[in-house]
Each structure stands twice: as structure tokens, then as C-alpha cells.
């Protein structure tokens, strides 16, 4: 293990807290541009994982890589997915439950993704989305950020 790689950690809790915070700022002041596109693509990707319950923390090794002695040794040392990764799921569930109680996962994700696309394209969301929808989306990301923040240790 190199000196720096020993510091590598699962940071999903912090990552999604930052992104959710940013989403609130962009909802308040939509600016579009590539930064907004990256932000909302990342959040859309997270929502897609939530919709399909497809959370996994790392990619699989190559088909032949598993036979290498080096890989076997690394695997023995590798930690299982940490609670930090798993923290993202209950935080999403809490935001879902708090804001969109009656909506299914599918409907929730579709609704939020449509709004994120509008924001990423720098269109004023008020023209295509009713005010309460924007307010709900904002509250969703506020709740997500706050829940992830509470779970910081």
C-alpha cells in the first residue's frame, strides 16, 4: 500500500451532502452551465440508484485479475462497504418520507429528474413546474443534506 492510498476512504456521505447543498443553491438561483449540468447529473444518478435499489460501493475486478496473488492479498485486506455508504440510503428514504409521502419511488425519481433537467438547462423552473413542486424539491434536498450532516461523525 502506498503512503497516500492508505488515506483513501468511502466518502459518499460527505459527497452527497455537498451535492444536496449545492442543489438547494441552484434551485434558489438557477444559473445553468456545465457546473450545473455535472451537479444535476450526479444527483440524477443517485436518484436512479435509489429508484432501482442499485447501491454498490465499488466495481468488480477484471475476470482474470481475481487470479493474481496481488489481488488476492488486497482482497483479504479490503474492508466491506462501510456504514457511510449505507447512510445515503436512509437519508434518501427520510427525505422521500418527509416530502413526498404518497409518491412511489418511481414517481418521485421521475419528478425530481425532470426538474433537475430543467435546472441544468438554465430554464426558469417556474415556467414548466408549479411553485409547490419546486418548493418540495428544495425541501427534499435540504432534508437530504441535513440528514447526511447529522450522520457525520
Amino acid at each position: 500500500m502506498t503512503l497516500l492510498s492508505m488515506y483513501k476512504r468511502d466518502d459518499s456521505r460527505n459527497v452527497y451532502r455537498i451535492l444536496a447543498d449545492q442543489a438547494v443553491k441552484y434551485i434558489d438561483h438557477p444559473t445553468g452551465g456545465s457546473e450545473a449540468r455535472i451537479l444535476f447529473t450526479n444527483l440524477s444518478r443517485l436518484l436512479e440508484r435509489y429508484r432501482y435499489d442499485a447501491f454498490f460501493s465499488h466495481g468488480a475486478p477484471g475476470i482474470l485479475e481475481v487470479f493474481s496473488k496481488e489481488h488476492r492479498a488486497q482482497h483479504a485486506d479490503r474492508a466491506e462497504p462501510t456504514p457511510k455508504t449505507l447512510d445515503v440510503i436512509p437519508a434518501l428514504e427520510k427525505a422521500h418520507e418527509t416530502v413526498y409521502k404518497t409518491l412511489s419511488k418511481d414517481d418521485l425519481v421521475q419528478r425530481l429528474q425532470e426538474l433537475l433537467v430543467t435546472l441544468a438547462e438554465n430554464q426558469a423552473p417556474g415556467e414548466s413546474h408549479p411553485n409547490n413542486e419546486i418548493k418540495n424539491a428544495r425541501l427534499f434536498f435540504v432534508t437530504l443534506a441535513e440528514t447526511l450532516d447529522e450522520r457525520r461523525t
Binding site: V15, I18, S34, E35, I38, R45, G62, E65, F67, R152
Partner: protein, 451 residues
């Protein structure tokens, strides 16, 4: 220089390295896309980093990971000299994988960016997926295809990438859900691997082959050799699923590459690990899958006697003519048929056509061209003024290559050539690589198409 200042400094370093790298010829294709995506990621990262309080340690930790990741990516691209990997094959592979790797998050979403580089070591075959949940900063996902440098020309072995394409598809949530339910569901529904306790019992079964018992005794201090846990079982099923992916996307070439490469690294064929089941179980599953796909009937229907005999040799070499042994035969034909049909339907639904065996009029000319030392492809060699070149699926070329590689004549040499010329397997691979190159040209510029 405090940590925040250093990270901003490193962002500038990454940007500078990016400009330097892309001034040179680092593989054809998506350099512009890569450059644009990367600049946008850097812009985003800097916009997040600049307002951060220099004492906010947690934020700085996160940003350190992100900058480091970007630096690693640029370095990988710097290493991807186009002379180090078979780019005609790569272009076909990219075409095959792209529809499966699209996320469909937005209507006007750009394609994923697929980059290539070569790595040392037989173990290198891989597609790096950018699948890490804790990544802050990904616009368009970058898939990096990694080839073993020394196997640059061995396009027949590259059919193993069919398995890796499965891992790539697994990271797309919609596909992941479909694959779990429709492909893994049937595989996990019955048999000795339905639970960890059953799998452990199966592993310790007195009916297991002697090699399994030997390995258990050899590694009895390591739990993975005596107990199958949930994570291990989950990895094993992902490997089974990806093997089916390889079969459905690359056909017979996958079976041949799979056996050649896996047995090269595990000559016993019985070794297992935390992330992979024994090869013999994988082969048993593929044997049943090929029965379901009707490969034996396909061979019987071939009219050309020599080709039929060559195909029989191929199947016997890479699948075996006998049914699998009882212990390693962990799935029933019904389970495999259901899983395989579902997988084909998933592929079709995203515009990634499953492999269909070629008709005889397509395969026979390819095999004959190879036997005559001509790169196999759809070139019209009749000498007419207006050649009628044909579109040929690149996977048929690989199939033809494997069929010829197994012919006894391909293994003989008269002893007068140099070492490389004597290596008939290498020569067939090189011919197939040239065939792919020519086929690529035919596909890009079909007869009659005006520029």
C-alpha cells in the same frame, strides 16, 4: 502552503497535464469529448473548493480524493498510446458496449466516453467503470478499457471482454435491476447455491471432485475455502451472469477465450475465491447454455464436410462432448434457458444485438480466407471492377479465427520460419486483426456511399 491552497494548485497541475497529454496522439476517438468533460469536472471542482473554509477538514479530505482521481485519469490517458492496443477491435467493442453503458438520465444525454490503455500482466483485461458511489464529480461517465500489452494482436482472446461488458452493464441502475430480477433471479431460484448454508454444504460435499477437497485442505486456515458467505455468493453470481453476457455478446469466441485464459491462470480448473466460482462450474453452465442456443444442431446442419468437422473439433475442444459432472452442474437447463432468454431480451431492448451464429455462406469464406493466409473479412476478392464488399459482423471473423486455430494444419510448421512465424496462433490472430481493420473500412465506406 495550506491544504486548500495545495489542492487548488493541484487542480491547475491536472489541467496543465491534460493539455500536455492531449497535444499528442493518444489513441483515436474521443479525445475532444474527454478534454471537454475533464475541463468541466475541473471547473466544477474548483468552484466548490474555492469557497471552502481552509479549516473544514472533512471538505478538504473529500476534495483531495477528487483531485487525486482526476490526476489518475489523466495519467491513464497519457499511457494510452494507440500503438499499444488493437484499435480496430476496440472500435467494434466500443460500438457494442456503448448502448449498454448509456445511463439514460436525460433525453439528450451524451454517450459515455470510452478510453483505452494497455497494462502489463495477463491479469489486465478489464473495463474500469467509474462506478464508485462516493465520487463527487462525474458528468459523462468514462469507461476505460484495459488490454494486456503483450496480447496486443491477440484479437481472438479479446472476446473475453464480453464478460467485462456484463460488469459495465451491471453498474447502470436500470440494467442492474433487470439483471438481478430476470437473469440472476432464475439462477438463484434452485440448486446448491441458493443460500450460503447450502453453498457451504455443497463445497464440503463428499461427492465433490478430489481437486476441490485438496484445495480445501491446502487452504483450510482461510475461511473462503471452507465457508461461502453472502458477499462471496453475490460475487459468484455476478461472475456467472457476466459469463452468460460474454456468451450472448461474443458467441463461440467467448467460450474459447474463456477456457484458454482461465485455464492458463488456473490449470486445475477447480480453484475458487472470494470473487469467482470454480471454472468447472462456469464451464458446466456455459455447456448447458450452448445446448439451449442450439449450437450442436447448428453444426449438424452445416453442409460443407470439412467445415462441419472443424466446427465439431472446436466444440469438443472448448465445451466438451459430455454433459458436466454432477457436482459442478449447479444449474438446471431450465434455469439457464430462462436466464439466457431474459438476457437476450435485455440486450435487444437497449439496441445491443445478441450474437447470432453466421450462416454457412458467411462463415465458410472467412475460414477459407484464413486458411489461405488472407485477412478474413467481407472483401470481394473476385477481381471485378466494382467489388461487392459485404458487411460482416466482426464477431464472425473472430469465430472463423478460432475454428481455424483449432485445425491440426494450423498447428504444424515446416521448421523453416522464424519463431514468430512458427507461432500459428499469433499468425491467425494477426490475420484476424487485419481482417477487422479491413472490415472496419468496408463498414465505414460501403460500396456506392459517397463522401
Amino acid at each position: 502552503m495550506n491544504p486548500k491552497e495545495f489542492l487548488l494548485h493541484e487542480c491547475r497541475n491536472v489541467r496543465s497535464a491534460l493539455r500536455e497529454v492531449l497535444r499528442h496522439d493518444y489513441s483515436a476517438g474521443s479525445s475532444k469529448d474527454f478534454y471537454t468533460e475533464f475541463c468541466e469536472r475541473l471547473d466544477f471542482l474548483e468552484s466548490l473548493l474555492k469557497p471552502v473554509d481552509p479549516t473544514d477538514i472533512r471538505m478538504l479530505e473529500t476534495f483531495a480524493d477528487e483531485v487525486s482521481m482526476l490526476s489518475m485519469f489523466v495519467h491513464q490517458i497519457e499511457r494510452s498510446h494507440s500503438g499499444e492496443f488493437p484499435w480496430p477491435f476496440t472500435e467494434y467493442l466500443t460500438e457494442l458496449a456503448t448502448p449498454l453503458c448509456k445511463e439514460n438520465l436525460t433525453q439528450n444525454e451524451g454517450k459515455p466516453i470510452i478510453r483505452v490503455y494497455a497494462e502489463g500482466g495477463l491479469y489486465s483485461y478489464k473495463i474500469n467503470l467509474e462506478a464508485d458511489l462516493s465520487v463527487l464529480n462525474v458528468g459523462r461517465r468514462i469507461f476505460t478499457i484495459v488490454f494486456p500489452r503483450t496480447l496486443k494482436h491477440h484479437v481472438l482472446l479479446h472476446a473475453i471482454f464480453g464478460h467485462e461488458v456484463g460488469h459495465a452493464a451491471w453498474t447502470i441502475p436500470k440494467h442492474n435491476s433487470d439483471l438481478r430480477g430476470k437473469v440472476l433471479g432464475p439462477l438463484r431460484s434452485a440448486g446448491p447455491l441458493t443460500s450460503t448454508s447450502q453453498a457451504t454444504h455443497w463445497l464440503r460435499n463428499a461427492e465433490a471432485p478430489a481437486e476441490i477437497e485438496d484445495l480445501r485442505k491446502q487452504y483450510e486456515a482461510e475461511p473462503i475455502y471452507t465457508v461461502v458467505d453472502t458477499t462471496q455468493l453475490s460475487y459468484w453470481f455476478q461472475e456467472f451472469m457476466c459469463d452468460l453476457f460474454g456468451l450472448v455478446t461474443f458467441g463461440p469466441s467467448f467460450i474459447a477465450a474463456h477456457k484458454t485464459l482461465l485455464l492458463a491462470l488456473d490449470p486445475t480448473g477447480h480453484r475458487w475465491g472470494p470473487e469467482h466460482p470454480p471454472y468447472i462450474c462456469r464451464r458446466a453452465m456455459l455447456w448447458r447454455a450452448c445446448q439451449h442456443l442450439g449450437w450442436n444442431d447448428y453444426v449438424k446442419a452445416v453442409k460443407d464436410t470439412q467445415l462441419r468437422s472443424d466446427l465439431q473439433t472446436f466444440l469438443e475442444t472448448y465445451l466438451g462432448s459430455n454433459a458436466p459432472g454432477e457436482w459442478e452442474d449447479v444449474f438446471t437447463s431450465g434455469q439457464i434457458a430462462t436466464a439466457l432468454d431474459a438476457l437476450k431480451a435485455i440486450l435487444e431492448s437497449v439496441g445491443c444485438p445478441p450474437y447470432a451464429l453466421p450462416d454457412e455462406t458467411t462463415l465458410l469464406p472467412l475460414v477459407r480466407m484464413l486458411s489461405d493466409g488472407i485477412p478474413p473479412c467481407g472483401s470481394d476478392l473476385s477481381g471485378t471492377v466494382k467489388p461487392a464488399n459485404r458487411k460482416v459482423d466482426f464477431r464472425h471473423i473472430l469465430f472463423g479465427g478460432w475454428v481455424v486455430a483449432e485445425k491440426p494444419a494450423a498447428r504444424e510448421s515446416d521448421g523453416e520460419e522464424d519463431e514468430e512465424e512458427k507461432d500459428q496462433f499469433l499468425q491467425i490472430n494477426k490475420l484476424c486483426e487485419l481482417g477487422l481493420l479491413q472490415q472496419r473500412a468496408i463498414d465505414m465506406h460501403p460500396a456506392g456511399k459517397k463522401e
